[in-house]
């Protein structure tokens, strides 16, 4: 790993390729959560890796590389979110469901299916849900990052959860409990 980093610092293309291949799945898993589709997530991954290679000199070798990569990928996703926000329709998805999601039904869903549900959220809800629930940001930090009020962040999180519950309920009603 250390050799790969050193190679990337020398702008060695083979080292960059190996590093990219090694961490591609990890980066894509992060970006998928923040994106609408796999194609968009792949684009964001490449934007993120471009930053990684440009700023590899700033990486502190005493810290885990994954944490640094994760941070960059989240930032790249937020950049994409800002672009997307200009064109996105902010109306929440329908969630007036009467049934409640049940833990045993949810456990039958695969990771991919659950992430696909997150991707269906509106950009604002998706970003707040990911940042708060999965990546451990506080509402104050999210407000600063997304340029929204702290209260808006809390409200978006609440609505994101409601929407996810509704989508889970909807899946429970489907014959095989599968999305799409």
């Amino acid at each position: 790993m250390h050799l790969l980093i050193q190679g990337c610092k020398r702008n060695d293309r083979d080292s960059q390729r190996l590093l990219y291949q090694h961490y591609y799945y990890y980066a894509l898993a992060i970006c998928l959560r923040y994106s609408r589709s796999t194609a968009e997530a792949k684009e964001v991954v490449n934007d993120g890796f471009l930053k990684v290679f440009d700023k590899i000199d700033q990486y502190n070798v005493e810290l885990p590389f994954k944490a640094w990569l994760r941070k960059i990928m989240i930032n790249a996703s937020i950049d994409q979110y800002r672009k997307e926000l200009k064109h996105a329709h902010q109306a929440p998805v329908e969630h007036a469901q009467l049934m409640h999601s049940q833990p045993e039904a949810v456990s039958n869903l695969s990771h991919e299916e659950l992430i696909a549900l997150v991707q269906k959220l509106t950009p604002a809800y998706r970003a707040v849900f990911n940042l708060y629930v999965i990546d451990g940001y506080t509402h104050r930090e999210i407000g600063k990052l997304l340029n929204i009020a702290e209260g808006t962040s809390k409200s978006n999180l609440l609505k994101a959860r409601e929407n996810l519950r509704s989508m889970l309920d909807g899946m429970n009603e489907m014959p095989y409990g599968k999305a799409n």
Partner: protein, 398 residues
Amino acid sequence: MEKLTDEELDSVFKNAAEGNAPPFDPAAWDAMAQKLNAPRPAPLWRRWAPILLLGTTIFFTGVWVGRTSTESDSPELTEKKIVVEANESTNHTEGLNDNESSDLEVLPEIESDAHKESIVTINSVSESRSQNLIPQEKPNEQKSLREIKQEEFTEVVGLIALGNEVQLKDSLSEKEVIDSVALVKSEVDSIDISKEPNDKPSGRRVYGLFIRLLASPDLSAIKFGPTQWGSNFGLVGEYVFSERLSLSTGIIRAKKNYESYQEEAYGANARHLVGSCSILDVPLNFTYYFPSQRKLSTYVTAGASSYLMLREDYIYTIKSNSGDRVYPSQAIRENNEWFKVLNLAVGVQYKLAPRWQMQLEPFIKAPLADLGERNVRLSSIGVFGGLRYQLNSLVKTP
């Protein structure tokens, strides 16, 4: 039928996010390689670098020009000038005849037992001679009584030296000259300097430029939590704009380490935070120097600092359903906190040389707002040790 709680729902999606491992797409690298090969715009700092370089060059050229233009007023050069002129004067008197040494002809009028008259006479004798022996005094330059008498004494001693080379008139005995010297000397010695005024006359303004080289240990903490050691190194420029006041700014490279167990400091989910930050501290401070006649003086400083966060490394522990989880986090050049830190300091200053002072300055830096990626209320204390150098002579205007 139980509804999923928020925690359960969060846990489901968190586990899904961590377990999700999409396969590698071999074509992805091709797209990445294309991105890497494409030309990219120069970074912001590189675009601004020529302007910064030009500005820096102009600034230091200005300082250098200002310094060289005022060097002629410096004490060292003045002393050299006196020596040169005194030598010229000595050489000149070697060729004097009796008529030319008109100054010395006045000396017989001195009454050795009349103290005041002797002083006046010696002054009148030395008046024309002193034009060559000492530099012309500036009209607005005030001297203490002791300094004036000391100069008179020096002049008389100079006259004796001349008297050895130029033959004295018969009417002026060597004893009379020595008596006059003794009188002046005794008067110099009898002056009580404690009665001299302490302060320079008001109504004058003093301008000057200083630079300060600073270093300090740093103890930082979130609120009153546990402290950890860090360091500060800096270069500060100081502009003195009155006899007592100055304005200073510069760059201090700070390394601040801290930790906290206070949840409200970094979010409700976290239990523990360890932080290490590299910061460019840009202070803007006013300093008041208390009047002092000794080499040791004191001052107080107040102002505000901007923190340019170069690198922030955090390790934070978060409560989760499956137990505590540790997350490292890093932010590089993502936060600039403008004037969000209050600076307060008191200091002592010791004059090492005419242009050099040594300073010791205990300080406190208190946050006026949340700082950095984790929005922490970071306070710091320490003691700056520093050297202060006077770039140019103080320019005084009446």
